[in-house]
Subunit: 610 residues, 2 copies
Amino acid sequence: MSNLTEVQSRLPQTGCAALLMPSSDEYLSEYARPRDRRLPWLTGFTGSIGSVIVGRDKAAIFVDGRYTEQAARQVDTDLVSVCGFGSVAQVAWMRSNLAPGEKLAVDSRLHSEEELSRLLDLLREARIEIELAPRNLVDDIWREGRPEDSRSTVFDYDIRYAGLSRQEKIAGARARLAERGQELLVVGDPEDVAWLLNIRSNDSRDTLAKRNFVDPVSQFRVPVPLSRALVPLEGAARWFVDRSRLEHSLIEVLDGTVEIMDPAAFDAELARLASGRIVAANARRTNHHLAGIIRSAGKLVHDPSVVAARGIKHENEIAAARAGHKADGAAVVRFLAWLLDAVKVGPVTELDAAERVTQLRAQNPLYLGPSMSNLSASGPNAALPHYVPTPATNRLLNDHPVYWLDSGGQYLGCSTDNTVCFAVGMPEPKHVTAHTLAVKGWLALGRARFPEGTQSTQLDSFARQHLWQHGMDFGHGTGHGVGNFLNIHEVPHIRKEIDHPAVAPIRAGMIVSNEPGYYAQGDFGVRIESHILAVPSRFDGFLEFETLSMLPIDPALIDATLLDDAEARWLADYHEALVEGYRDTLDGEAMAWLESIADAFHAIANARPK
Amino acid sequence: MSNLTEVQSRLPQTGCAALLMPSSDEYLSEYARPRDRRLPWLTGFTGSIGSVIVGRDKAAIFVDGRYTEQAARQVDTDLVSVCGFGSVAQVAWMRSNLAPGEKLAVDSRLHSEEELSRLLDLLREARIEIELAPRNLVDDIWREGRPEDSRSTVFDYDIRYAGLSRQEKIAGARARLAERGQELLVVGDPEDVAWLLNIRSNDSRDTLAKRNFVDPVSQFRVPVPLSRALVPLEGAARWFVDRSRLEHSLIEVLDGTVEIMDPAAFDAELARLASGRIVAANARRTNHHLAGIIRSAGKLVHDPSVVAARGIKHENEIAAARAGHKADGAAVVRFLAWLLDAVKVGPVTELDAAERVTQLRAQNPLYLGPSMSNLSASGPNAALPHYVPTPATNRLLNDHPVYWLDSGGQYLGCSTDNTVCFAVGMPEPKHVTAHTLAVKGWLALGRARFPEGTQSTQLDSFARQHLWQHGMDFGHGTGHGVGNFLNIHEVPHIRKEIDHPAVAPIRAGMIVSNEPGYYAQGDFGVRIESHILAVPSRFDGFLEFETLSMLPIDPALIDATLLDDAEARWLADYHEALVEGYRDTLDGEAMAWLESIADAFHAIANARPK
């Protein structure tokens, strides 16, 4: 009996006709830990986001466009139909498959307050009944062989990297509470907790220690413990975390500022502290169960101020980011110099390349493990923006002229995430055109100057404009905020959806990615990605970007006739600065190769009419 | 006794301590008719938008930044303090000036449902009581000398210009109702009514007949009667309008499709038809009093579908727009040719120029009057984006090298609104730089190509990017939708505020203005403005713009070194097309002058290195 059919057989005992199971965990993590991956356990689907509704004799999985094909391959399509993403599709399926009066079981811990409120509205309109409880049938059944939670140690994150002390950050949070007449801050997002309390975990180091370079994906963790915090206006901040994972030195420095409490005590303590109070919580990052406790006890006010505060980097964070990008970029330059040689003399696969770049990063003593999976993509695989190679899909790079690698590392004070795109064979004009247009978008965003506070969505079109002129586009956001030795995805996002919750005004000190691309389905793909830092320009009130990533562009994939003079000059200057920047770090073949790239861009710039 | 003090003396009889009076009328018109201009009657302030709160012995006027100076000049500042715009500022003033338990009188007809709901929330939080009723003290007092309402005739708007018949438009509205399970459409915006029922009024012709060319401002009307309509799912559409203004032929063609009803019967008929029904109404264009009637009788659903439908022009509307822009542009070209000669031989004032352009427009038999006031601006006046000259502010154009004129006309099938900016003396480098950067933004938006459905706010930054590079910007939107012989301001707006209600996806068939500028306070200003039509590009799913306005740019205000090759070439081709386009319309001095402009742009393009 499969896990799915076992759940179906036990459904009648629950009194419900169907069960909704999302990919997220009760912390609403972007990457759920293995023990919380209920969706793959139920269906076999391993994509990063989706949900399933299990009925007594049928089921449906709800995934977005990029996962339709993968879901159809991974699930048992005799039992499970593949449907579009989102609550509207879910309700449509339930309208057709539930009889009037039948109930849907929903685990109130696995959905954000914001998301579940929307679903509840739709269900009410559709007259579908719901049984909402902080539990689910999968947890009743899935016991044997269920992975343990991470046991990596949790440590004090040095102020050299964090910038502000936890006392200063907590005082800031309290000042914001007081300013708005609020009395309690609920920090429901483990990444917000890690930033606020200056703590990190050894998860990425543990991944590194396993030396599993081929598949860093399944090992990858955001280096924070799953935990929550409560910050009342007065008295100690409470941190709900497994005390046995904390380094002794961390426990010592927390004393007097932060009270460590048992995670099992969270609900009761929240109810107690929220009672009769105005409570600030990020409704997008607080699960519906906890929001219900707040609403029963006091008044809930949506407040994303912690995630907003951590988006603006301190000068220490910025200094560490510059150092981290140099350390990381050196490994990527070495990788590229190796790769372009290796493909000339023998076969190299996507997985070979992914392994090699991780090995090179691991040679750096500052490297603390991967910040993401290695997206190593060639040929038609490279047309899937989120492609991660597996033994089943692994391609020979030698078979296609264009290759891109989207990968990153964790360093103290810096999470990197970058994409390099190089010709490993003789590119065709269509490859060169698409890449040049994407690079022009990358230049337009990277070279933009704009008033502080410009909405991130307004910068999105800068990166797309040159592709648009040729009737081309890319189906993902242009960029996203980046954490400091944290999750590489943060607020703000640079994207076209103006009502997306991660769209926000750009402020000095924000670090975002700049990653336009182009994807020709079934054929090829290109992408370049850097991290850029918003800094004051010489004009009062106007910002510009400093490119933090130190990565070369492939001149063989540039059509110089599509560049204007300023773009050609900028690329030449940029590559010259890379050579200078790496002079104390790189030598031998890697340096010679990088110099040859810089020379090629100088030749492009100098060949233009004066 | 001033009007203000008379209102203050009678306040105690109302049982309220203060009275709120906005600039808008009960139709929420952008331009209230003289009899509805309660704010100027009360305070002397003549700006287009603002509000006053009158207390027993003091008062405050609430205006946005562009009107602060004007308000301070126009109101009696011993009695009235000048405050910032909006409900937050209003509530702050009330907190300081009303005692607990004192009441504010608000006329529920003069605020949109959306706006007043927000104010009511704020007042509730501030514990300020309110007396809400569909009446106000100003109307009780202001009887003598109050202007009559417009008596201009209302006529059938020919399908040659309207495109779709009123039967087709009503059927479309009913189909949208049925699709959404709604049962009644309330059309509360007189412009929506005019579009839906294919009717217009002679207001702009009446303005023209008065031949008051110096001050078309105070005469200007959107050429529609103030009226409302109700469209139930079944039975006749009801139109609430003064029957005596309707041409007999209009009454005849309406028979069987539209029932004409007395405006005084509207509230009762609305209550009757809304009873127990789901009612669609645009909450931004329906006043709070009417929304209250709907909510008491049935269920109100916000629905902006009529204004959305009229934003997408029919092929007949587009054909008429092309013709209208040519007719209008020819008058403006003649004006410019005259002006540049006239300033060489003698004094010309802002008002002289404003009068001249209206006279030239009026020579065209297709012209039906002004679509807006003539913004004719020189020197420091030109630094005020919404400046309209008056005898008190009138400047000699000969005193400053840069002049711009923002003006427009009404034509059957076309409302124009354009800005030309020319050097009437020797411009300084700062004038040329600012103008060239604004023109580069105008080119970037006008030459953009983008996926259909791109949000208007995402195109806004295209027009600003070159100014931004120099630390410059402009404080108004980049563009706005344009009506068809209607109001020149419509949804969508191209602007930076992503949560503005007029931000919308751009669709093929939309006409918007493209009007970047730059304003150096107390010194000078530049602006260029065209109307552009979104049309399918040669790439499937991508739109581009066709520039409808046929107006020259001043080559004397262009720094060719700031242009790229493509921009220089586009400007040369554009001006060559103007010359060709006007060959059957213009001759003599105007044509010779236009040819000299085109020659100058050819010289700029041809001087570039190959």
